[in-house]
């Protein structure tokens, strides 16, 4: 008879084998035959939970990618980034003085809980968003009375009570509802960008249901019973950091009617490579949706080289640009100083130009992005497909090592730029590779050693906006398709430059004046002025352009209608699952 210990060992071994057998079940899918699958469930991961689904405070791409499928605005962007009517019957034009917009609302719209949508909901949603002062509150800043509401300090039930009572402290005077299906908006000054700003999905211009929010004003969006919107899908379950599920709304008022019956989003996987592996094993239908199209370069390269999966890879330009910012002002608030100041005149400008020309942007893209996940920023800071992208080549994007060296020699030589540091946030691996590449280029092409200063993201952004760095990693992701989004949020006195919230400190009277003019003009008229603003930045060598980002998606062949434009994922109600 075998000793007891042997039997225990045998049992353990058998258990291990049995466990393996349990694990070894299930499998992936195959090709489609063009017919709809019986199970219209879409599965995909997001690699981090959303911050909030409340339009008043949402500020992350993931939030907005989800919200655009269960909430609506009066207008929205279509797949080609045109502004189209959503809850409004048409996109209104501004009055002749550019100060008044009148929205006529659809009368057939209901929230997913059956509540009827009226102009009262618009007033509530917009006043509430202005009062909450989330990251995108300024999208409503052109409306008369915004400044008063922006001073509000109340939140939660206190704020809801004020809103319900139409308290003047939280009511924008320029926002009125002549009848249940008309909303009139009066602006404090002409703003050609206003319509674009309120079309931004999942943001302050989007509509919420007052009745649903009333009892839980802070967390209504996380509870399926109160996460109510007018969109084609409704939340049916949500476990934070685990999963969220949406079902199609029966008899939804809009079009196209959703074919998918359910959307299951896995929030438990936070690693992109793990998500890709799970996709390859049949666990997901899509990877890259929900604002996570920055898939690892190594995985993309591997998939590109496979025969069966390369066709599932979708690479598409996105609306984020990266560049290097110089510190251009030195005062009591901006301590960094450095050799690149506006007050340094032509000498400082030539030094900035030397640093810009010394960087080979094509080589950067090959080295840092393997030529896949980014493209050289050759058309100004505004990426391709967006209004404001330059038709000509940005002179700052050129690479001319000889001229760079000459400029440096003529303007003080290496000693004029000694002891420089390039600050960056290393959480994004591309930032690390970029910093190392820049350091090598400046050393090789200028003979200048620049130290690298990695700083954690949040302190880095804080310090950069305070003017603590002479050279720093900079970037911007477009919020909406309008040049104002770039020229108002990155430079100029309107933003707070030189001393508040300004990476470079750059502001000139000419810039401020032209910016004010452009902002007030209708878009067609404003384009030329924004182009002139762009030229000012180039003439003053305010930045070193690096690259535009490219999004990467994996989409199973049986998923039809999924994809992206440069801003956002294709809407869920245009997606279907084919038999496979």
């Amino acid at each position: 008879m075998a000793p007891t210990s042997f039997r225990i060992l045998k049992t353990l071994a058998l258990s291990a084998v049995a466990s393996l057998a349990v694990v070894a079940c299930g499998g992936g899918g195959g090709g489609g035959n063009g017919n709809l699958a019986s199970d219209q469930t879409l599965n995909f991961p997001i690699l981090g939970d959303f911050g909030t689904l409340d339009p008043a405070t949402a500020d992350a791409e993931t939030d907005q990618e989800i919200q655009q499928n269960f909430q609506d605005g009066l207008v929205r962007f279509d797949a080609n980034l045109n502004i189209v009517p959503d809850l409004a019957t048409a996109v209104p034009s501004a009055s002749s003085d550019g100060l008044t917009y009148t929205f006529n609302l659809r009368k057939d719209v209901t929230f997913s809980n059956g509540d009827t949508f009226t102009s009262k909901d618009v007033l509530f949603s917009w006043n509430r968003a202005a009062a909450y002062q989330g990251a995108y509150a300024t999208n409503l800043s052109a409306i008369q009375g915004y400044d008063t509401v922006a001073k509000n300090k109340k939140a939660g039930k206190d704020l809801e009570a004020l809103l319900e009572a139409n308290d003047p402290s939280v009511t924008m005077g320029g926002l009125t509802a002549p009848d249940p299906y008309t909303v009139q908006v009066k602006l404090s000054q002409p703003a050609g960008w206003f319509m674009t700003a309120i079309a931004l999905s999942g943001s302050t211009g989007w509509i919420v249901d007052q009745k649903a929010i009333k009892n839980d004003p802070d967390n209504w969006w996380s509870n399926p019973a109160t996460a109510i919107g007018t969109g084609p899908f409704k939340m049916v379950s949500y476990t934070p950091k685990q999963s969220v599920e949406f079902d199609a709304v029966a008899n939804w008022w809009g079009s196209p009617k959703p074919t998918l019956t359910k959307v299951k989003i896995d929030i438990s996987v936070t690693n992109a490579s793990t998500a890709i592996t799970k996709y390859e094993q049949g666990g997901y239908d899509i990877v890259g949706y929900g604002g996570y199209s920055n898939l690892p370069v190594a995985d993309i390269l591997r998939i590109k080289n496979t025969s069966n999966e390369s066709a599932q890879l979708l690479l598409h330009p996105k609306v984020r640009s990266y560049w290097v910012s110089f510190n251009m002002v030195h005062d009591a608030s901006r301590q960094a100083g450095g050799p690149f100041l506006l007050s340094g005149g032509d000498k400082a400008k030539n030094l900035r130009l030397a640093f810009a020309l010394a960087v080979d942007k094509n080589a950067l893209v090959q080295t840092v992005c393997q030529g896949i996940v980014c493209t050289p920023a050759t058309g100004g800071l505004i990426p391709p497909t967006l209004i404001g992208h330059m038709d000509s080549v940005d002179p700052l994007s050129k690479f001319d090592a000889a001229q760079a060296k000459t400029l440096l020699q003529q303007n003080g030589g290496a000693s004029a730029v000694a002891g420089l540091k390039y600050a960056y946030d290393p959480e994004n691996p591309l930032n690390v590779a970029t910093a190392q590449f820049l350091q090598a280029q400046w050393q090789q092409n200028l003979g200048v050693h620049v130290d690298l200063l990695p700083v954690a993201h949040s302190p880095f952004i804080k310090a950069r906006l305070k003017g603590d760095y002479v050279l720093s990693r900079d970037g911007w992701q477009a919020d909406y398709n309008h040049p104002q989004d770039w020229f108002d949020n990155l430079w100029g006195t309107k933003l707070g430059c030189p001393d508040a919230g300004c990476s470079t400190g750059y502001t000139t009277k000419a810039y401020d004046d032209l910016q004010a003019k452009a902002d007030a003009e209708p878009l067609d008229q404003a384009k030329a002025d924004y182009a002139k603003l762009n030229q000012m930045l180039i003439d003053d060598v305010v930045y070193i352009p690096l690259y535009y980002s490219v999004g990467a998606f994996l989409i199973k062949p049986y998923v039809k209608g999924a994809g992206t434009n440069s801003f956002f994922d294709n809407f869920w109600n245009g997606i279907s699952i084919q038999s496979h």
Binding site: L12, S19, L20, C25, G26, K241, S268, I461, A500, G501
Partner: protein, 318 residues
């Protein structure tokens, strides 16, 4: 099983655990507010709007006011709200993740004790045979390799080399499909977590068993004609277990803290993964919550180990 004295001891320990948890979370609260950076500040959210958001979360109040509010919440079992996942209450998240980590930890502990004792007993009763050498060598390898190396190796073997055998579904388990409690999903990470400690248990059990099986009472038992299996399990193993139980406390803590690495490698949504994510995201409230969860888990696990003495050795009383 438990006497009145033991129950009083349990009560005292529970009070101490509560105080320890409060102390740990207070230290973390005070420490973390000294760190630079936060979860809310971003390229889009700064200036007045940032201040407004700080106000909304009460983060603009003096530290002592925040601390008092935090303590008041703690006493009511409310760990506050996530800053990244805005407004979402933390307590349910920590409790859920604690249960996931405890589940993995428990299975890892079963591996630790099961494999460790089996190896130790077999090596002892087959001392200086090839079997002893094989098991002892395996043990040395086990505790020489960090758990993340074992985890990566297991992924290599079962996920890649044996891809045909596992039908690729091994990777399906990475990322956790949400079926908590499925042994098929747990056993591999639990093995990676428990095996290094199993090696320690094996060596200790072997040494302890070698000492015990040479005792007079074992010889007496054999003389009485008892079966060898009964002698080894009832008289040998039971007495050899006392030193093993003694190191079980530190091992349990090792398993719990080791879960931080293993959960991140296997993508298991437990406290360990949250620990890493929340620090990277600067979601301070969750960091405090996770530390609180860990403190509670370690305290309760140690109490459980101490109570095992009573079960194993009736002479021990509290």
């Amino acid at each position: 099983m438990f006497t009145r004295g033991t129950l009083i001891y349990i009560g005292q320990r529970l009070v101490l655990i509560v105080l320890a948890v409060l102390g740990v979370s207070s230290l973390v609260f005070l420490g973390i507010h000294r760190l630079p950076g936060d979860a809310l500040f971003s390229e889009h959210l700064h200036g007045d709007q940032y201040q407004q958001t700080l106000h909304h979360y009460g983060l603009d109040r003096p530290l002592w006011v925040q601390y008092v509010n935090f303590l008041a919440g703690m006493i009511h079992g409310d760990l506050g709200e996530s800053l990244v996942n805005r407004g979402v209450p933390i307590t349910p998240i920590v409790l859920r993740e604690m249960s996931v980590s405890a589940e993995i930890g428990l299975v890892a502990l079963i591996f630790t004790v099961g494999i460790g004792m089996t190896f130790g007993v077999v090596a002892a009763i087959r001392q200086n045979t090839w079997m002893d050498y094989v098991l002892s060598t395996t043990s040395v390898i086990g505790y020489s390799m960090p758990n993340f190396v074992i985890a990566t190796f297991l992924i290599l073997v079962f996920g890649i080399w044996l891809d045909n055998f596992t039908q690729g579904t091994f990777y399906f388990q990475i990322g956790w499909p949400g079926r908590y409690g499925s042994i098929g999903a747990i056993w591999l990470p639990a093995f990676a977590l428990g095996f290094p400690y199993a090696s320690i248990v094996a060596r200790l059990t072997r040494a302890s068993m070698l000492e015990v099986i040479r005792q007079d009472y074992i010889r007496t038992a054999r003389a009485k004609g008892l079966r060898e299996a009964v002698i080894m399990v009832r008289h040998g193993l039971r007495n050899a277990l006392i030193p093993v139980i003694t190191i079980l406390g530190p091992l349990v803590i090792g398993i719990i803290t080791g879960g931080v690495v293993i959960e991140n490698i296997f993508g298991i949504p437990g406290l360990g993964k949250e620990f890493a994510n929340s620090i990277l995201n600067r979601d301070y409230n969750i960091v405090i919550g996770v530390f609180t969860g860990y403190a509670a888990l370690v305290g309760l696990a140690n109490l459980g180990v101490d109570l095992l003495y009573v079960v194993i050795d009736p002479r021990i009383r509290y």
